[in-house]
């Protein structure tokens, strides 16, 4: 298993090995699925679209519909205008969505297709039916990563759709960042429990976590309706959960419609959830109900009960930057010792954010943007950890080094829990505490000397 890594950190400048990120369009596709009755459209060769759909499907185990411009050599040379126009005709007449959300791929970016112009032309020529919407985002993968694509599509959604009428909705916009449908569901539950009026956008719950009913609907009931998105410009405030996936859209809405925003991290863990609840409470001027206090208290109780098993356990955390940033804070709350904190995302911003959270308390911690899993493996070989928190791609390192992996983030290709249970909010944190403690104690039970194998812990 993974025989190539040694405890020496290899010098590499051009070769990425086992990346901890993927490309922009998959994020754009995912964000677009959070609009009600929306068809994501991939403008480029069909391979990218096939890969993105397949990968999202493997994570959600749900239908993921998306169309492609299916470039061949001709389009690559002469541009993809004809392909996109034909695609729009087909999409509206065969699949009839309310919205088509176009994103680019590396290929159409290199060609330099001007999507807004193509859309405008298609509209003028009557290729987009009356009342239907086409939006777009540029998502070149030679810039940023999958989270950039998600963020860019969220900005596109605001840019094309949000309006200001001047009549306040008295609602709060919640921009969830890249979270699972189970998380979005939990964010809404908490907002409802608080009695807050809100618009969550995008919202993939009831789109990518559908019940089995024997009936397939291409556009299920979930997703933020276009009407609601339009009215986001009239909200009191936006709460944006994640620097790398949500803040840019909040900024855009502020610029466009003057809606101020609070920039928070993903509400994973105790403090991050506190900040989410507190922001909603302050903005909406409501009291936090006792039921939420009790949830919080139960989480705290279990953290305290189990604290001894977490204390100073060295941990590697990797994945998408917003997930990793939030998880690092939670890990510290649990008493774990963050040792390697890796993201494939590009930019110093990630490292700065993590260092701010570590606050000098973990001087040995290695924080890395543009990191890859090969280097993570080398570092673990050189100086091991006792726990890995990350997505499914960590399972080989886990097996090679006999270290438990607790899956969180994206993608999770080999387990089902993320589809059912959230990681955000106090309940999400409880779920994570359970998973982490199970992993650590199972490992201990499997490997400790027999005389230390105990019935009660």
């Amino acid at each position: 298993m993974l025989d190539l890594a040694t405890p020496t950190i290899s010098e590499r400048s051009a070769l990425k090995i086992n990346p901890a990120k993927t490309c922009q369009p998959i994020g754009a596709m995912y964000a677009a699925l959070g609009i009600h009755s929306c068809m994501p459209h991939s403008h480029g060769s069909q391979g990218c679209c096939a890969y993105h759909r397949s990968h999202l499907t493997r994570h959600f185990k749900e239908p993921v519909a998306a169309t492609t411009s299916s470039f061949t050599e001709g389009a690559s040379v002469f541009g993809g205008m004809a392909n996109l126009q034909q695609a729009l005709i087909n999409i509206f007449s065969i699949y009839n969505p309310e919205v088509v959300a176009v994103h680019t791929t590396c290929l159409s970016e290199v060609i330099g297709d001007d999507i807004p112009t193509i859309i405008k032309k298609a509209r003028e020529e009557g290729k987009i039916p009356e009342g239907k919407t086409v939006i777009h985002a540029n998502t070149p993968s030679f810039v940023g990563s999958n989270v950039t694509g998600y963020s860019n599509m969220c900005v596109g959604i605001v840019n094309y759709l949000a309006e200001k009428s001047g009549e306040s909705t008295e609602a709060i916009n919640i921009f969830p960042g890249w979270l699972d449908p189970s998380d979005m569901r939990e964010l809404k539950r908490l907002a409802e429990e608080l009695g807050v009026k809100y618009t969550l956008c995008p919202d993939t719950s009831d789109v990518l976590d559908l019940p089995q009913t024997g009936v397939y609907e291409m556009y299920p009931k979930g997703g933020t309706p276009v009407e609601a998105i339009k009215r986001m410009g009239d909200a009191i405030k936006t709460v944006a959960l994640g620097e790398f996936t949500a803040h840019a859209a909040a900024q855009k809405l502020n610029d466009k419609c003057g809606v101020p925003f609070e920039a928070l991290d993903a509400p994973i863990g105790l403090t991050n959830t506190d900040l989410y609840i507190d922001a909603l409470r302050r903005i909406a001027e409501v009291d936090v109900p006792a039921s939420i206090d009790a949830e919080r208290g139960r989480l705290l109780d279990v953290i305290q009960d189990i604290g001894q098993y977490f204390h100073e356990v060295p941990v590697a955390i990797f994945g998408d930057p917003d997930h990793v940033v939030a998880m690092t804070r939670f890990a510290i709350e649990l008493g774990l010792k963050p040792k390697y904190i890796f993201s494939g995302a590009t930019g110093r911003a990630f490292e700065n954010r993590v260092h701010a959270i570590l606050d000098g308390r973990f001087p040995d911690a290695i924080v890395k943007q543009q990191g890859d899993l090969f280097e993570l493996h080398e570092r673990i070989k050189a100086d091991p950890v006792k726990l890995i928190l990350g997505n499914t791609y960590g399972k080989h390192i886990g097996r090679a080094e006999n270290i438990p992996l607790v899956r969180f983030g994206f993608p999770i290709l080999d387990r089902v829990g993320h589809r059912l249970f959230p990681t955000v909010g106090y309940r999400g944190a409880m779920h994570l505490v359970e998973k982490i403690s199970d992993a650590l104690l199972d490992q201990r039970d499997r490997t400790c000397p027999e005389e230390w194998f105990e019935l009660v812990q």
Partner: protein
């Protein structure tokens, strides 16, 4: 056409009261005119006696939800990816390499001393600068770094769409690296846009493997019956199952292209005396080229399905024309069938008369009809994702296929007999004798000759058509891929993934067939579907019997 065809009798007049023609009309109705014209050619009602012409290997229509992937996927993902001990570098932005990393189930057992590069995704992860100023330097550096760190036997480089567009010359970079490092380094211009599907990538990969690997090592191999299996990718361990079976018969496999296979096996595999082809679509080029250059004959086999497996074994034995082998093969078949038949009979009794539809790949939509047929399940509709007309209509149609601009893009290697190494493996007289007795060399009869009259054959099926098929014909089970699986299952129909096997398998050979029967039995017998409608809804329905069709089906 050889006499090997067993034309099925009977006609599919209608399914669930709807004729194939009526269903076809339903699928086409309401499509924009240009789309309709194109799809009309790709949906045909079958005639096994004289297969009708089908539109295939043509461009995918923009805006249609297709199953298809790209040329890169067909090259790096399908044909070369499974060679586990060469180091693969995807030259491009991160995504293409990332998605082709361990997502296809070509399994490998790696002997001590070899490295399993399949667990690694190596990419140049191109950034904006490289797109603007060119990525050749970065690629050269990446190759150097890979060699310095890992010392592989060979490095294989794959170009993705943006690379082709900015004009990076990967072949020169590879040639220079080969000189500098003294190992085999070669590249594939398999940019996704190069073809209309994965299929172009298969061809490009065949060319590259042939040019850069086949024939490099002339070490003789003195095994008695030496063959290669071409077009078998060891998904879910199929190649191992075939291996085991052939070993029992005393037949040696030098290489399986490409599944559970090493570089050393591939460079020596021209020592074989026969190539048998599983997936015609992805590897027929290689079979032809090896025959021309080295004189190794080829024929089509199918180890999917009990009767097909027996037939394929007998054909191999007949080719070697050795009494000892023929007897041994009969013994093995008898022993295997003695185990298989009772299990088959029991499961068949439960599912006889059920209906399947299969839409995958370039050969499985055909092969798996045999396995379903083994347990009495009839395939009423099938189609490939990226096959060509010859895979539907049979190889005799080849001279009539128009070569369009997209196919002309792909290099046709000019192969000549190798003066020193060309050696006919079977005398012309012996070969003629076999042919006279109805033995087909270098042939594939295609899917249509083995499907019933008026079965609906659908090339590159789209989401829209699949929905109609399910709603109207209500198949009991569908074989498809990951992108369709959950759509189908949301409609209350079990879907067996025939790309990844839903992480099960093997399904090849007799042992694999048993696995498949049991798996299909599980899927068709599961209680899950009976729980879909909650008890209170059942009550509601009793009160209002005109509930929608879908709901009734789910019940």
């Amino acid at each position: 056409m050889s006499t090997e065809a067993t034309i099925p009798t009977g006609t599919i007049e209608e399914v669930e009261g709807v004729t194939p023609d009526a269903l076809r009309e339903q699928m086409l109705k309401g499509l924009p005119s240009k789309t309709l014209r194109k799809r009309a050619k790709q949906i045909v009602s079958n005639d096994p006696e004289t297969p009708p012409e089908i539109g295939a290997n043509s461009r995918t229509i923009p805006g249609i939800i297709t199953q298809r992937g790209c040329t890169y996927a067909g090259c790096r993902g399908v044909v070369i990816g499974p060679i586990h001990d060469i180091l693969h570098i995807t030259h491009g932005p991160v995504g293409c390499g990332y998605y082709s990393w361990m997502t296809r189930r070509n399994l490998a057992r790696v002997p001590e001393g070899q490295t399993n590069y399949m667990q690694y995704c190596m990419t140049t992860d191109m950034q904006e600068d490289h797109i603007v100023f060119g990525g050749e330097k970065r690629l050269a550096e990446a190759i150097r770094e890979a060699y310095r760190l890992f010392k592989p036997k060979a490095i294989s480089v794959y170009a993705t769409c943006p690379v082709g567009l900015i004009g990076d010359d990967i072949h020169t970079v590879c040639r220079l690296a080969k000189e500098e490092l003294g190992i085999n380094v070669f590249g594939f211009s398999c940019e996704g846009y190069k073809g209309v599907s994965q299929s172009a990538g298969h061809h490009i990969a065949n060319n590259g493997v042939f040019k850069h690997m086949i024939g490099l090592d002339d070490t003789p191999n003195d095994a008695k019956y030496k063959i290669n299996i071409l077009g078998e990718y060891n998904i879910g361990g199929d190649a191992w199952a075939i291996d085991e079976l052939l070993k029992k018969c005393g037949i040696s496999i030098l290489a399986t292209l490409s599944g559970g296979v090493s570089y050393d096996e591939i460079i020596n595999c021209h020592q074989a005396d026969l190539n048998v082809v599983m997936c015609h679509r992805s590897i027929n080029y290689m079979a032809e080229m090896m025959e021309t250059k080295f004189g190794i004959p080829w024929f089509k086999v199918n180890f999917i399905g009990a009767d097909s497996t027996a037939k394929s074994l007998r054909k191999i034995a007949k080719y070697f024309d050795d009494k000892e082998l023929i007897d041994r093969v009969e013994e093995v078949i008898a022993a295997e069938l003695a185990v298989l038949r009772p299990i088959q009979a029991e499961i068949k009794a439960k599912h006889q008369g059920k209906k399947a539809a299969i839409f995958v790949g370039g050969s499985r939509a055909h092969h798996y009809q045999d396995l379903f047929g083994d347990i009495g399940i009839e395939t009423v509709s099938a189609g490939y994702e990226f096959a060509h007309r010859d895979d539907y209509e049979g190889r005799d149609v080849l001279p009539n296929i128009k070569v369009d601009a997209d196919s002309r893009n792909i290099e046709e290697l000019d192969v000549e007999p190798d003066e020193a190494r060309f050696r006919p493996r079977i005398s012309p007289e012996a070969k003629q004798k076999l042919i006279d007795a109805g033995f087909a060399f270098s042939d594939y009869l295609g899917m249509m000759r083995e499907m019933k009259k008026r079965a609906l054959v659908i090339d590159d099926i789209s989401h829209h058509e699949l929905e109609h098929l399910i709603k109207t014909w209500k198949p009991d089970i569908i074989g498809s891929g990951i992108k369709d699986k959950f759509i189908i299952e949301k409609m209350g129909v079990p879907c067996k993934q025939l790309h990844s096997y839903d992480y099960g398998g093997p399904y090849a050979s007799f042992a694999g067939a048993i696995n498949f029967y049991k798996e299909i039995d599980r899927m068709l017998s599961t209680k899950v579907w009976s729980y879909v409608v909650p008890p209170w809804v059942k009550d509601r329905k009793a009160a209002a019997p005109e509930a929608p069709a879908e709901e009734q089906k789910a019940a």
